[in-house]
């Protein structure tokens, strides 16, 4: 594969250096701390709904008001939870991960991870807290 010149500009050492940097560890931690538990949560909630629909149809058929029953409300709740999680994720990414990612990208572009030592500066506000 011939790769575009711009991508060869970063050496494997720079990537290793960047990967080992504390700000990258923090970026990865923030990303995973949100994405992984949330994925487990919405999959569990979805599977619970599927299992209830399959093995507890009588419970799902319990009327709540008029012809609207528990099953329909739980189904609509799946829509609501999907919209809410989407919103939470976007807010999390904007506030917590994008600032670190943007800052690291700029540093990588100016080769601040080249050549040994930590070319990193944690004092820049956005990587904190």
């Amino acid at each position: 594969m011939t790769e575009p010149a711009e991508r060869r500009l970063l050496t494997p050492e720079e990537y290793r250096q960047a990967q080992d940097s504390p700000e990258f560890t923090e970026l990865r931690r923030r990303f995973r701390r949100f994405a992984f538990p949330m994925t487990v949560a919405f999959l569990a909630w979805y599977l619970l709904y599927v299992l209830l629909s399959t093995y507890a149809p009588d419970f799902m058929a319990t009327p709540v008001f008029g012809n609207v029953n528990v099953g329909l409300l739980l189904g609509l709740a799946q829509f609501v939870s999907t919209f809410v999680i989407t919103h939470l994720y976007v807010a999390h990414a904007n506030r917590r991960t994008d600032p670190i990612a943007d800052e690291m990208r700029e540093r990588l572009e100016s080769h601040q991870y080249a050549g040994g030592g930590r070319a990193t500066d944690l004092s820049k506000g956005s990587t904190r807290g």
């Binding site: 290793r16 990967q19 994405a35 399959t54 008029g66 329909l72 999907t82 999680i85």
Partner: protein, 549 residues
């Protein structure tokens, strides 16, 4: 094989074929003009495969909705709700929740690390040849299943809406649809296809909104009254408001439903034509924005489908729907005719055809890109291809795949399978063959080539074998109403796998094989490549830039 022409002769068509054809014709003319205009900017491979990465997040969100809201969503889900009630609704929930997997775990990271195809990421830190070949094979398999579903939908629509009954004439219509699709792909590339998707998604969502409001007006915006009427005319003894009408019969069918639910929720993030859409935007943030748009559009559309489905049940009645050509898939068009007569039916029919055309074009460009980029350029030519050689091969492949899908479409005309159900099989293949490897590649440092190959081939082969020996292909009990078995082949029975959907076996097995292949392999993971993949995926450094024109 079922003979649709006989069914059609009995019940006839609805609406005016002339109106239906002219509305669809107008869509074709407008989109062709746009496609030709878009083609002026098609110069490089990035233009052809990824629309120059110049599509905005909002536009791409609409295009994703256009890709995703296939004939299965529009016709299949509304039909399933009309006839089986609640169980049809379950489909749409799985299809929607699945987008969270794409949003949280896949979309942005893939955008940051890939160039044109799914295999770009999967092969990133592995041995290129074998992994790219495996990814290309599974891309082709998923795309062909999906194509089959779309073409089956086209078959039913043709009979219902165009008043075309002879098998030869129906085949001619499928050939025309296929030829049009090839033109979109050859001329417009990804950019042209994207515009077609955007127009189609807008029309589809607007059409569904009109029908939803119309149905609700008839019931004074009282959901409970709509549900009550749908229940009153339901097939005798069937509770369409609670789960179980379609899947609750036996313990096997219950397990089948859990299997389906798993395939739906895990399949989306492994669909190659959905993944490829993430490469058409300039940055990972636009990829995120496009998924957010897609989730809202798709979610709202499925809420419309709920009303349309129960509306079709209440106003048209399940017996009329099941008696019409195209059976379950004809619920939405029949409701349109019931509400707005010839004109609304014409619009909805035109939109439904446009849906099939656009989705088929999206699938074709994905499959052809995967063959040209992964198999031809990377494996056969080892990266030594002349400028534009790859795109030329992609165009030839698009014609070949177009021809195959025309052939499949003509076959699908003769078998009356529910489209949503065929799409569910495509999701099962995507969830088994692709998703485990995508997640391991992005998140597990030790993952190796052997793990990737075991997971992809293991998932794909298990899935295909279980489908071949399932009641989908042979041995499902004969339906007393039609005198036919819902299986693909009549009068033979070689099935031993009891479930229609293989997901519950094949997905966990594929995850397990990926782990086993990795821990048993002697190969050391490439730590340099792993660092590059991880840093690029999370920071966006080195991501492909938009093409400047």
């Amino acid at each position: 094989m079922a003979d649709l022409s006989v069914v059609a002769a009995d019940s006839g068509t609805i609406g005016s074929p002339a109106v239906n054809i002219s509305i669809f014709g107008a869509f074709v003319v407008v989109t062709l003009v746009i496609t030709f205009r878009a083609s002026r900017n098609n110069k490089s491979a990035a233009d052809y495969y990824a629309a120059g990465r110049n599509i905005s997040g909002t536009q791409n969100g609409l295009a994703i909705a256009g890709d995703y809201l296939s004939a299965a969503s529009f016709l299949g889900i509304a039909g399933a709700i009309a006839v089986y009630g609640y169980d049809g609704f379950l489909y749409s929930i799985g299809f929607l929740v699945a987008w969270l997997v794409a949003l949280l775990l896949v979309a942005e990271l893939m955008r940051n690390t890939a160039r044109y195809t799914m295999a770009d990421v999967l092969a990133f830190r592995m041995r290129q040849g074998p992994v790219r070949t495996a990814a290309a094979i599974s891309t082709l398999a998923v795309s062909l299943f999906y194509l089959l579903a779309q073409m089956a939908g086209a078959g039913g629509l043709v009979t219902l809406l165009l008043g075309i009954t002879g098998e030869a004439a129906q085949a001619l219509v499928v050939v025309l649809v296929g030829a049009l699709m090839i033109i979109y792909v050859l001329v417009g590339g990804m950019r042209g296809t994207t515009y077609v998707q955007i127009i189609k998604a807008s029309l589809l969502i607007a059409g569904a909104l009109v029908m939803t409001l119309w149905v609700l007006t008839k019931f004074g915006f009282n959901l409970s009254a709509l549900l009550g009427d749908a229940q009153a005319v339901a097939v005798e003894g069937r509770d369409v408001l609670a789960p179980g009408a379609q899947y609750g019969a036996t313990s096997t069918s219950k397990l089948d439903f859990v299997s389906l639910g798993l395939a739906l929720v895990l399949g989306t993030a492994g669909l190659p034509h959905v993944l490829m859409r993430f490469y058409t935007v300039p940055t990972a943030k636009d990829a995120r924005r496009s998924v957010v748009w897609a989730i809202w559009l798709i979610g709202v559309f499925y809420l419309f489908s709920l009303v349309i489905g129960y509306g079709a049940g209440a106003l048209v009645g399940p017996e009329t729907i099941l008696g019409a050509p195209g059976a379950v898939n004809s619920a939405a068009p029949l409701l349109a005719f019931e509400l707005g007569g010839t004109i609304l039916l014409g619009i909805i029919a035109g939109v439904a055809f446009a849906t099939i055309l656009a989705v088929v074009a999206g699938l074709t460009i994905t499959a052809s890109a995967s063959f040209a980029h992964d198999v031809y350029a990377s494996v056969i030519k080892k990266g030594q291809v002349p400028p534009n050689g790859e795109v030329r091969v992609a165009r030839i492949t698009a014609v070949v795949i177009g021809a195959i899908s025309i052939g499949l479409g003509i076959l699908a005309l003769q078998a009356g399978l529910n489209i949503a159900f065929l799409v569910a099989l495509a999701f099962a293949v995507a969830a088994s063959a692709n998703l485990p490897t995508i997640l391991y590649t992005l998140f597990w440092k030790r993952f190796t080539t052997q793990g990737a190959l075991w997971s992809m081939y293991g998932g794909l082969i298990t899935c295909l074998v279980l489908i071949i020996f399932s009641p989908v292909v042979s041995g499902a009990p004969v339906n007393p109403a039609t005198g036919l078995s819902p299986s693909l082949f009549q009068d033979v029975d070689f099935h031993w796998f009891p479930l229609n959907n293989p997901g519950i076996i094949s997905i966990p097995l594929s995850f397990f094989l990926g782990w086993l292949g990795t821990v048993l392999s002697k190969e050391k993971p490439d730590l340099d490549k792993n660092a590059e993949l991880e840093v690029r995926s999370l920071t966006g450094i080195g991501a492909e830039k938009a093409v400047q024109h």
